[in-house]
């Protein structure tokens, strides 16, 4: 059988050493009524057949290498330099477990230390963990962390209404049986959604002695970047209320915009997928999570620290494990153990390869392309683009025809995967589409989208 090395002779010899006759004897302790049930699975494939089958499944999808893609909404189509996968897939990294044994895990450990350092550099924070599952679960954990930091005495958590809807959903899932109230993200009318500063003011107005945390997106789900100067005020208000400010970031945006560490965030989380990780239909991605040193003991997830070996050589180990489930069990800061180490490694290689300059270039390309696209679409009759607030690489456009219809036409007639139908996330936003442009969209693609929207829209006018 595939991947099983034993020959029949070896099997017999091993059974002899064990002292049983048949392999079946090894399962004598399994209740007989349940033992050896039929397994109704399709017959085994050889590698060649498996490849054929998987190739056929893959062919049954339309991918962003074939279609121009303007979807973002939390997962982004970015350039991944060839070095990333080349290094990532080295067996010594790829097939190692969590680095519990530091002497044979310095590769993973040092890379994780570098990852933590880079997340700190991006976010302007003092300490970052070695990854969480994804941005949304990192946010849920940040909320739990804020609850712990306020000793469970503050049950209220304020969520910005234009946080990613699925992130809000995940937070709700996590806290559903806890004594926690999530507030602030109640449905809002369209006009208010267009005014992020008003939304912010609103949210700040709800800060009180029961509030553990206030969560702001940066940029928000609709692509808008709140002014750092304004957020500095938010931070002050939050801190004055004795609460914690949690920021949800896009790491590419942080190559351009003032980092949350600079405007006073206490916990920063975000989706690290844009940093060299393939779209892969939604996962595995990379949860980023950083905070200030003062709160490190409440930080969930693994941490790598620097130390020395018996001969004075620098080395790296997992540290502060007393926060973790394998030591503290029910008193741990989280239940997490397997994280997404490999994705963190990918991001580390990506950030090393692009470096300070390259990452800035990516961010600027995203910015300029999105703005070019927004400007051109804004000039189309019947289209309204939300441009009154600064945005990064995503923006909202109201279409003259129902969004699903437009998306279908773009796909079928223009080989374009259009934007995100905001009506899916919020009925108030029906008729609006969220468009994203990155360095992967050439000017020809942008222009083709504009032409297509013009043609599709013309039918409605």
């Amino acid at each position: 059988m595939r991947f099983l090395p034993h020959t029949e002779a070896e099997r017999q010899e091993m059974l002899r050493v064990i002292g049983v006759e048949r392999i079946g004897d090894l399962f004598a302790d399994v209740p007989e009524a349940y033992r050896f049930p039929p397994l109704n699975l399709p017959e085994p494939l050889t590698e060649l057949e498996a490849r054929w089958e998987l190739e056929a499944l893959a062919e049954a999808n339309a991918h962003v290498g074939q279609y121009a893609c303007f979807l973002g909404a939390g997962a982004y189509h970015h350039f991944i330099p060839a070095v990333v996968d080349e290094l990532l897939r080295r067996g010594e990294f790829y097939t190692a477990y969590t680095p519990y044994q530091p002497e044979v895990s310095q590769g993973t450990l040092q890379a994780m230390f570098e990852f933590q350092s880079m997340v700190c550099a991006l976010t302007g924070m003092e300490v970052a963990n070695a990854s969480h599952y994804d941005g949304s679960s990192a946010l849920a954990e940040a909320v739990l962390m804020a609850l712990r930091l306020t000793q469970g005495e503050r049950p209220k958590v304020l969520l910005f209404p234009t946080l990613h809807p699925e992130y809000r959903a995940v937070v709700r899932t996590y806290v559903q049986h806890l004594d926690v109230r999530l507030e602030g993200d109640e449905p809002q009318p369209l006009e208010r959604l267009r005014q992020p500063l008003a939304l912010l003011e609103d949210l700040e107005g709800r800060l009180d002695a029961k509030t553990a945390a206030l969560v702001v997106p940066y940029p928000d789900f609709l692509g808008r970047v709140l002014p750092p100067a304004r957020l500095r005020e938010t931070a002050e208000r939050v801190h004055r209320a004795g609460a914690f400010l949690i920021a949800v970031i896009n790491p590419i945006a942080l190559a351009l915009f003032e980092p949350p560490g600079a405007w006073g965030a206490d916990i920063v989380v975000g989706e690290g997928q844009p940093l060299g990780i393939p779209l892969s239909f939604g996962g595995p991605y990379l949860g980023l999570m950083a905070t200030r040193m003062a709160f490190v003991r409440q930080l969930p997830g693994r941490l790598v620290g620097e130390t020395v070996d018996g001969e004075g050589r620098r080395g790296y180990v997992l540290t502060l494990s007393t926060r973790e489930q394998h030591i503290r069990r029910e008193k741990a800061t989280s239940n997490i153990t397997t994280n997404v180490g490999l994705m963190a490694l990918a991001a580390t290689i990506y950030l090393s390869a692009l470096g300070r300059h390259g990452l800035r270039q990516v961010a600027r390309l995203c910015y300029h392309k999105a703005h070019y696209l927004a400007d051109r679409i804004a000039a189309l009759p019947g289209h309204e683009v939300w441009r009154e607030h600064p945005f990064f690489h995503e923006f909202v456009v109201r279409l003259p025809r129902p969004v699903p219809e437009v998306l279908r036409l773009l796909y079928e007639d223009y080989q374009i995967i259009g934007g995100y139908d905001l009506g899916r996330a919020d009925p108030a936003l029906e008729g609006h589409m969220l468009l994203c442009a990155t360095e992967m969209n050439t000017r020809e693609e942008l222009d083709a989208l504009v032409e297509a929207l013009a043609e599709i829209g013309a039918a409605a006018l």
Partner: protein
């Protein structure tokens, strides 16, 4: 040779990989929004390649050698998995594409759900959880939602957990707001039925069972324990981390487990990646299926014209606990697990048979060298005590010394109920020759413990670094690179 940090290669102004110049007019950047510094490294592509290549060589993976890390199922990760997961038709799909444009991906997820249902004996499976521990949290939330729907949510706040359980079980329970009650093990390593019985009352939310348990033993009291808990209205959570022992051997769903997670990164051969990503799908019986986290993939009956050309779509279980993450789970991991299951089919049973054969063979050969706390037939793993009577050698010393012999150590000091535990899980992909070589190393270490204990106590001797000062790490807390000339240990 020590490897500098990538930051230490940085030279101001050095360029790494460049991007194209903008092909659109540049838009003004908003004033007052921008950052000044971006303290990332500035290195060349060759620096990056050499740095990470050298780091990798300081690591040990299953691809390098035997990795009998108990509870982790470090089996060989087939390379075909990697090839197919990188097909552009999988790797380059946006999660929000219209389901019609991703039918291949949905079909794969659908079939993986079906396969896992069949393997575990469950009514439904959700692929959503990102890892085993998130699967636990989700499963416990399901149990709580179930009790809540029956008006017992406030009352049933106790989760019963055997003392041999993995730390994630109590941690997940606590995260879901439950109180954890420890259930001791009996002398044969089973759940102590008397102790369990004492706790079985109307405040019980459930019992978390790992079976085979972390001692590698099939719990002989399993059916009785399940029965006891069910009778008092509690539900059974199965920690499926050890499913590698049970493929085609028995189905937890048939034996009374209400909900269970699978670790695709253990049982189903997806690589561990130095700590993840994994995937922790959960299976549930009829009773709990409506509570599964969503979305699931189902056949879209409306759009399906020919039954043999089903159209797939995302659906939500009626009473779902909600989302546990954005998008739809670790799809890249699903591709690998799907491939693995397709390559085995019903012969997955041979995987478990070989895993159990290997463990028992190793146990039989090590029994004379080290004390075995629970000496009976094991399943896919077993626990010995890392002691050599009459010597000062501890489990940790043995582990470190194994490195010098070219092996990855077993799991140390877990489960907590065995002093000096060494938890050994060979997995089915190891050959007899490898197991014999491991026994030989263990034999030599036992000998060294008597003849030259210092050699063992100061091991490892051949690794890139020697034993590291963990206390210092926790005290000084250097958790990131800092360019400032703080006093730092100098690399030698």
């Amino acid at each position: 040779m020590p490897e500098p940090l990538i930051f230490e290669y940085s030279v101001p102004g050095r360029r790494g990989i460049a991007l194209p110049e903008p092909d659109v007019p540049e838009a003004p950047l908003p004033e007052g929004f921008l950052r000044e510094d971006l303290p990332l490294p500035e290195v060349s592509e060759v620096d990056v390649v050499r740095h990470f290549l050298r780091l990798s060589q300081m690591n040990y993976g299953v691809d390098k050698g035997f990795y009998p890390l108990g509870s982790c199922t470090m089996k060989y990760n087939p390379k075909i998995n990697e090839e197919v997961a990188r097909l552009p038709g999988f790797a380059r799909l946006h999660p929000y594409q219209d389901p019609e444009t991703v039918q291949g991906a949905l079909a794969l997820m659908y079939h993986l759900q079906e396969f896992l249902k069949e393997i575990g004996g469950f009514a439904a499976v959700s692929l959503q959880p990102a890892a085993g521990s998130q699967g636990e949290l989700a499963g416990i939330l399901m149990i709580r939602a179930y009790h809540r729907d029956r008006g017992e949510g406030k009352k049933r706040i106790k989760m019963l957990i055997p003392d041999s359980a993995h730390g994630t079980n109590p941690a997940s329970s606590a995260m879901a707001g439950l109180r954890v009650v420890n259930i001791p093990s009996d002398r044969r390593g089973n759940i102590d039925l008397d102790a369990l019985r004492r706790e079985c009352d109307e405040t019980v939310a459930g019992l978390m069972i790992t079976n085979p348990n972390t001692l590698g033993l099939f719990d002989e009291n399993l059916l009785e324990a399940i029965e006891l808990v069910h009778r008092c209205g509690g539900l059974i959570y199965g920690d499926g981390a050890n499913m590698n022992a049970l493929l085609g051997i028995c189905k937890p769903g048939e034996m009374g487990f209400d909900v269970m997670h699978y670790n695709l990164h253990k049982t189903f051969s997806t690589p561990h990646g130095g700590g993840g990503p994994g995937a922790g799908p959960i299976g549930a019986n009829e009773r709990l299926a409506p509570y599964l986290p969503g979305p699931l993939v189902a056949i879209d009956r409306e759009r399906t014209v020919h039954p043999d050309e089903p159209v797939y779509t995302f659906v939500w279980p009626e009473r779902s606990i909600g989302r546990v993450r954005a998008f739809h789970g670790h799809f890249g991991v699903f591709v690998r697990a799907y491939t693995y299951i397709r390559m085995h089919g019903p012969r997955l049973r041979e995987v478990s048979e070989a895993a159990v054969l290997n463990a028992n063979y190793l146990l039989a050969r090590l029994r004379d060298l080290y004390p075995v706390p629970y000496d009976r037939l094991c399943k896919h793993e077993f626990v010995i005590m890392g002691k050599v009577p009459g010597t000062p050698i501890r489990a940790l010393d043995i582990s470190k010394r194994l490195m010098d012999y070219g092996f990855h150590p077993p799991t140390n000091y877990f489960p907590l109920i065995v002093p000096e535990a060494l938890m050994i899980e060979p997995t089915e992909t190891e050959s007899k020759a490898t197991l014999d070589a491991f026994v030989e190393a263990m034999r030599r270490i036992a000998e060294e413990a008597r003849t030259d204990p210092g050699q063992v106590q100061t091991a490892p001797h051949t690794t890139p670094v020697r034993r590291l000062d963990e206390a210092r790490a926790a005290r000084q807390l250097i958790l990131r690179y800092s360019a400032a000339p703080e006093p730092r240990p100098t690399p030698v």
